[in-house]
Amino acid sequence: MIKLLIYIAIALTVVLLYQLMRIYQLSSEVKGKNIAIADEKDNRSQGRAALLFVFGFFIFLIWLIIRFKNDMLPVAASDVGKISDNLFMFNWVIIFIVFFVTTFMLFYFAFKYSKTAKNPTAYFYPHNDKLELIWTVVPSIALAVIIIYGLSLWGKLTGKPSDNALNIQLYAKQFDFTVRYSGTDNKLGTTNYKLIDDATNPLGMDSTDKNGWDDIVVHGELHMPVGREINIQCNARDVMHGMYFPHFRDQINCVPGMSTYLHFTPTITTDSMRLITHDTAYDYILICNRVCGSGHYNMFLKVVVDTKEEFEKWLAKKTPQFDAINKRNHGGAVAMK
């Protein structure tokens, strides 16, 4: 019934609008007014509106910056993140200068050169090679700087991790992340998706690989020591997932069937970040950033950056996966699949 009323209301509105248009048009025709093509009055009023707009636009942008500045991500908490923030700032300066100047020129010229009695004719100006050369060359130089600066950071982000980096695996599935620490040998054991068993071996670790015997599997939290490079091997079980660390300014996709890698050094512990943000509950987070299904929006992992000592203490409390299985099944012997 309500739906029917809505449809009737819509139909009546359409008829009403149509009639209003008709009345407006007929009355204008009687007065001999042109209601389709811009006249001098329109040129003047719309030109002014354009100028008004550009100021309103700038004010809105500045208001947004002031209002939400403090709700953006806090200072970068990794080595590469710091360079990233500087690079961002460098690009922003160039972008804002170009933005304000060109946008203002666009709307100001529209206002200034509107066709009025004072400005009845346009200036025939089909081209100027020198001007065009200038605005080809100047952006080229600016971009060359941006490219070189950007690629130097890209090299750091994607270069080889150092030898003493802490190797861990992040394993993504619908809709959570699992962490695997490589244990005392700092080597991750191999895995095979055919060995996956949700109850005993969620990552499909291969028990014939000795490197994996000391690997520790952790659910629900990712702990990292501050100041030590982390080398993350990323894998996915079912569909693609995104591994996005907003606070460390880095991300990569987790892709089924292949491994991808990410490395950085956390530079600020969770406790220090809580002081920086004046928020005693502030936490780093790892977010899934590649749409992966209905639970995508709830796929995240709490990230904790500890001091070296805290981290070692925390990790020492955990048991390697195979150790746990052995204790349960065989009372000590290594489980062989």
């Binding site: 093509i37 666009l106 605005w135 907003p246």
Partner: protein
């Protein structure tokens, strides 16, 4: 010799068409439904695209409601989605992804590719190059009918039990390949792939026709250097489409094989639903490469016709020649060339080789140079003009503004090292909606206002058009400017709610601002629809050349019949931009006016 041959073809064509005119009686169905007249086909594309865009806009309001007031009961939601997808007025998370996916697909393919190119290439190519119709009217008709069937299939997918495709408009496998992963990857995805395959057929039929018409059917004197920039833009767009759409078709076919016939082009080592799948050896990255090999040229397929409309409308209304005609052509050609070697900038986080990433950074940032040239040339065209503020001029100035604003944030996303900090967040959503979506939509509105008199012989109401422009333009920035800030706070796109992470709660105001502007913006389109449909039959009658323009379409009868010109085809003597040329009686000199002695052909020199 070449010119002689050219003229000979044209004479032959003239006689043939005179012959045609002797059989004018066409049934209603031949004339308006299965029409081979490019002008009718153009309107068919426009109406279909307007309907599709209307549907996609409603979808955007629904998911924006969810994002501003997550999980709240809404009778609007229930009205549109019913018990199946909005039980108790609360949006289902799967349907949220479905809406996002279909909104993107419709806007990119059906409005801004099919709708924009389909409408204006069909309307303007024969009229502006001086041809009686497209090279192959039959192919042209088929192009529309494939487009319509494709649209219908896409809309049907919204009404099936498991819901529409919901893996995002980029349909990355394995998510799009596995119904176990998301219900939308069942029948919904099958329909999506069928629809897009039909769309590719439509696009190829249209594109080949546009190219052949522009190359072969230009009237006498219409040298390439005298073509209006609209035609240059549509030519380059068609070439881009012909070269890139088949790759999407290939990608879709391989995905269909993976989904239905057990192949593993994109699938490898997958464990899902408690079961290890047998497929190994495929790579989802292959799909990304194939998809973006179309996907990136695609954004230029969207923006290039907009460039053409912008150039033409700015020049006419500033009463000045477009500044740097040849530079404009050159910049479009270089953008088109670069468009094919930048696709990897969508894949900086895919895990592809970092060196390859560096190459894509370089090529991508190169595109900024011809883009900057275009922006500066538009601004210089306004400088010292005598600007008539017809509604289309406002829309086009708006489009230049969004092209600048959105283009500049592209510098950040093109820089791989910065991209990894904001990839996949609302920063990206804001960027591409402004630079591609808004620029193209605003230019398309401008095009509709400008060529409405050619389509229907009547003019639209300017007062309503001004209201339509300012509301649309202000709301457009109101929606997408604040979104950058969500992105800079690390909020990912395609999230059903943003309450997973506590610090984002402070940003909820942004979502409310965005949704409010979105609702007002969508509602203001009612002004356009009323103006459009009213003026179609009752608007002020147009004169022969309402905007005092130079191009050939204004030399036809006010409502041209099939064949466009009565009598002989017009002969062209000059470029399309002799506005306010010193020493002329009027501030415009149509292309059909012969050159005076010693007069410079600006198209050859600018």
């Amino acid at each position: 010799m070449e010119t002689h041959a050219h003229e000979a073809t044209h004479t032959a064509e003239h006689t043939q068409h005179h012959h045609h005119h002797e059989h004018p009686s066409q049934s209603f169905v031949e004339k308006y439904v299965f029409s081979m007249d490019h002008k009718i086909i153009s309107k068919q594309f426009l109406f279909t695209a307007m309907f599709m865009a209307f549907a996609a806009a409603i979808m955007s309001v629904l998911f924006r409601l969810q994002l501003a007031w997550p999980g709240q009961q809404s009778s609007v939601m229930h009205f549109f989605l019913g018990d199946r997808w909005a039980k108790g007025g609360i949006l289902d998370p799967n349907m949220y992804l479905g809406l996002v996916t279909i909104h993107g697909t419709i806007m990119v393919f059906f409005l801004l590719t099919g709708g924009l190119s389909g409408t204006f290439a069909n309307l303007l190519i024969p009229l502006q190059v001086g041809a009686r119709d497209m090279a192959s009217p039959m192919m042209n008709m088929l192009s529309y009918w494939f487009f319509l069937i494709s649209s219908i299939v896409m809309l049907i997918s919204l009404f099936i039990e498991t819901g529409p495709a919901s893996a995002g408009w980029t349909i990355y496998p394995p998510l799009s390949a596995l119904p176990q992963a998301i219900p939308g990857s069942g029948a919904g995805m099958t329909l999506w792939l069928s629809s897009i395959s039909l769309f590719v057929v439509s696009s190829l039929l249209g594109g080949l026709n546009y190219i052949v018409t522009i190359v072969n059917l230009r009237t006498i004197g219409m040298k390439m250097t005298r073509l209006p920039l609209t035609i240059w833009a549509l030519l380059i767009t068609a070439i881009l489409g012909v070269l890139s759409f088949p790759v999407l078709f290939g990608a879709a076919i391989l995905l269909i094989f993976d989904r239905s016939f057990g192949t593993s082009f994109y699938l490898s080592d997958i464990y899902i639903g408690g079961q290890a799948l047998s497929q190994t050896g495929g790579s989802p990255i292959l799909f990304e490469h194939l998809f973006w090999f179309l996907g990136h040229p695609e954004v230029y397929i969207v923006i290039m016709p907009a460039f053409g409309l912008m150039s033409e409308i700015i020049s006419i209304n500033a009463r000045k020649p477009i500044f740097g005609y040849r530079a404009m052509i050159g910049s479009m050609l270089s953008i088109a060339f670069l468009a094919f070697i930048v696709w990897g900038h969508h894949m900086f986080v895919s895990g592809m080789n970092p060196f390859l990433g560096s190459v894509f950074v370089f090529t991508t940032l190169l595109i900024a140079i011809p883009s900057a040239v275009k922006a500066f040339n538009y601004i210089t065209t306004l400088w010292k003009g005598s600007i008539t503020f017809n509604p289309q001029l406002l829309f086009v100035v708006g489009a230049v503004s969004t092209f600048i604003s959105g283009g500049l944030t592209g510098i950040i996303l093109a820089d791989s090292a910065l991209d990894v900090a904001v990839h996949g967040t609302y920063f990206v959503v804001a960027h591409f909606h402004i630079v591609m979506g808004l620029s193209a939509v605003l230019a398309m509105f401008g095009g509709v206002y400008h060529w409405f008199p050619k389509m229907f012989g009547r003019l639209m109401n300017k007062k309503l058009a001004y209201w339509h422009f300012w509301l649309t333009f202000i709301c457009a920035y109101g929606v997408f400017l604040p979104m950058h800030f969500l992105g800079l706070a690390g909020v990912p796109r395609r999230y059903y709610t943003n309450d997973a992470y506590a610090p984002w709660a402070k940003l909820q105001d942004i979502n409310i601002i965005v949704t409010t502007f979105a609702i007002i913006g969508v509602l203001s389109q009612v002004i356009f629809f009323v103006n459009f449909f009213y003026s179609m039959s009752k608007g002020t009658k147009s004169s022969q050349n309402p905007w005092d323009a130079n191009t050939l379409e204004w030399t036809t009868p006010i409502v041209p019949g099939h064949g466009n010109w009565e009598g002989d085809l017009p002969v062209v003597h000059r470029w399309a931009y002799d506005y306010s040329k010193p020493g002329k009686a009027h501030d415009f000199v149509p292309q059909t006016v012969p050159m005076e002695e010693g007069e410079l052909d600006e198209g050859e020199h600018s």
